[in-house]
Symmetry: C2
Subunit: 367 residues, 2 copies
């Protein structure tokens, strides 16, 4: 029904689920990355990401874009999804390339579709509001040549997220307010974060986008012609035997660039949906604290802990007992092949540690 | 040749190796206690304790006194020892009872023997000097009615050991100086420990004793008649079928008391040998630091460690990798069933933790 007066587009979704399993090491590993872990409940992050779409985007219109190596594990973890909807990138080329790839595949199925770009890295609270925001954003993206980015009304001055500054109001669609996106800013320091939140003009940059296939192709043609060209060339072979070799040829020549740099910071037609649902980017072990209750000692525990005079710790120890005596503000993660003990202020360095282990080449069993 | 003019006694040794596996948890457990662990090299503490006696006391004159449950594991770990020399106590009744039991068995074999009382909890450096000290202490104990206790010239003001204050000189035997033992003092605070060491009059209380069977029986008759009576009653049945039931009868009525309280602090005929060998009581995880070199970051490592910005830690991780980021002065021990993370200042609380686990009754697999 695309293109008919008064109708709405078919909504597709692509979930970016690359991920090298670094930030949740040692529980996550290259072959068993964060997206497939059941850290935050009895569902994996990928199952949760797919579940958030329930009632809005059916499995047959949901794509997973991941690395070649993870196609099998991710497809196995989401049996309701058609297996051909799990697509492996030959190499990682950051989000701009992944989004162009997804857009090419969706364009081949429905050139007028609306595409929601999501990730498997988020935990969303009020899922009904989230779904409503998606549907109303799709309406907005369908009826005008704009690019919708979903901002989140901040609940505290996070220094872990990028921010989007809101400009003039555009309109309301249903319960969702749309405003001009004035500018994208990187993760701020604490003082700037406070100022942003106090101003009332800034939202967190969730990295979720909603746009029609025609609009995203037009914007890429203007700001990233190489990627627009890739869509043009992949579209005729999508789903056909020549697709894989065409994809490898295209990716070989791509530079690594995020969609923020490639498009969002350059395009003039960006509109921000002000998301009113709770949202958390689960980017490191510290985020575990946001999703589990604390014990009497102020420790966050997944698994089996015995603690004496210890507080503020995050312990993940599902398969064995962890005992703490007289320690504070540590992250302790027990995985089958390795144990991590990290000060809570240093969780961002887990990635560097994993890269150090990789480069030393002697830890095959734990990566 | 006991009792002949100018001859020396047969030297026996008993190694106290009870131990409930608490202080080196989670590597040690009730069924796999410290004495059988190979923490400090390729030999267990018990093998090391037995090895220190080489050339002085042969295996057939060496007894191991332990708990019933550990007779099998300890005998298996010391195949050179006659199996009947590993003796299980029906219940733990502290060191005074264990020593009386050992004395009864030795008295049954040779009522004039000299008995060296040792433990499986120590690491001894200069073993040649140690052996010389034992032999010269045996000479001393053989020729007079005295009780020899071995003191260690302190190398630093330890607050982890008891001290013995030296009195008047008695005599030199070979290279070993013997002095009166004026008093036994408990583990001191730091200020007292400094004063003790600076005075030059104090030695560490090693808990090692050398005495003739007649002298120890006489001293017990005077200060602990219940234990002297136990020796009298066990002696005739030692090695005979009625021994086990006699032992159970005796132990049922004994109170728990250490040899220090029962005898050493009361007897007037105590002489201290001034030991010049290096000696370390391996009483907690902190003692690991004394026996292994530190890595470039100042961490002591047994096993596999990857550390970023971490120093002063003690890591025992033989079967898996431990990774540290931004932490200081921790003890991290990875054992098959559990992981311990303990501040180095709190290693004495490991015992309390294990008792807490025991009383909760839900950790069978790790105790």
């Amino acid at each position: 029904m695309a293109g008919e007066e008064g109708s709405v587009a078919e909504i597709y979704a692509m979930i970016m689920a690359g991920g090298r399993g670094e930030r949740f090491w040692p529980l996550s590993t290259a072959g068993h990355p964060k997206q497939v872990l059941r850290i935050f409940g009895d569902k994996s992050l990928l199952e949760m990401a797919s579940g958030y779409l329930s009632g809005v985007v059916p499995p047959e219109r949901t794509l997973i874009i991941t690395s070649d190596a993870l196609v099998g594990p991710l497809a196995d973890g989401l049996p309701s999804l058609p297996r051909e909807n799990v697509i492996g990138e030959p190499v990682g080329r950051d989000t701009a390339a992944a989004i162009a790839l997804g857009a090419a595949i969706v364009a081949a199925r429905d050139p007028e579709a609306v595409l929601c770009v999501l990730t498997a890295d988020h935990i969303i609270g009020d899922t009904d509001i989230f779904r409503q925001t998606l549907v109303e954003s799709a309406d907005m993206a369908w009826k005008s040549d704009i690019l919708v980015t979903i901002g989140i009304s901040p609940t505290y001055p996070s220094t872990g997220y990028g921010y989007i500054e809101a400009g003039d109001p555009v309109e309301w669609v249903g319960e969702t307010e749309f405003v001009r996106a004035l500018r994208f800013v990187e993760k701020p320091d604490a003082a700037k974060a406070r100022a942003y939140v106090e101003s009332g003009r800034f939202c967190w940059n969730s990295g979720m986008f909603v746009w029609s296939i025609p609009s995203v192709r037009k914007a890429l043609a203007l700001h990233r012609p190489q990627l627009a060209g890739m869509i043009d060339r992949l579209l005729p072979v999508a789903g056909a035997p020549g697709f894989r070799s065409a994809l490898e040829r295209e990716y070989a020549g791509l530079e690594k660039i995020s969609i923020d740099y490639a498009l969002m910071e350059k395009a003039g037609n960006i509109v921000m949906a002000k998301g009113r649902f709770s949202w958390d980017d689960v980017g490191s072990w510290a985020s575990v604290e946001n999703h589990f209750p604390k014990d009497a000692g102020g420790n966050t525990v997944i698994g089996d802990l015995e603690a004496m005079d210890s507080s503020g710790n995050v312990v993940v120890s599902r398969e064995r007992l962890t005992a703490l005596i007289g320690v504070r503000d540590l992250v302790v993660v027990n995985a089958p092949g390795a144990t991590l003990v990290c000060h809570k202020s240093r969780v961002q360095d887990v990635r560097a540690l994993v890269r150090k282990l990789e480069s030393s080449g002697r830890r095959k069993g734990v990566l």
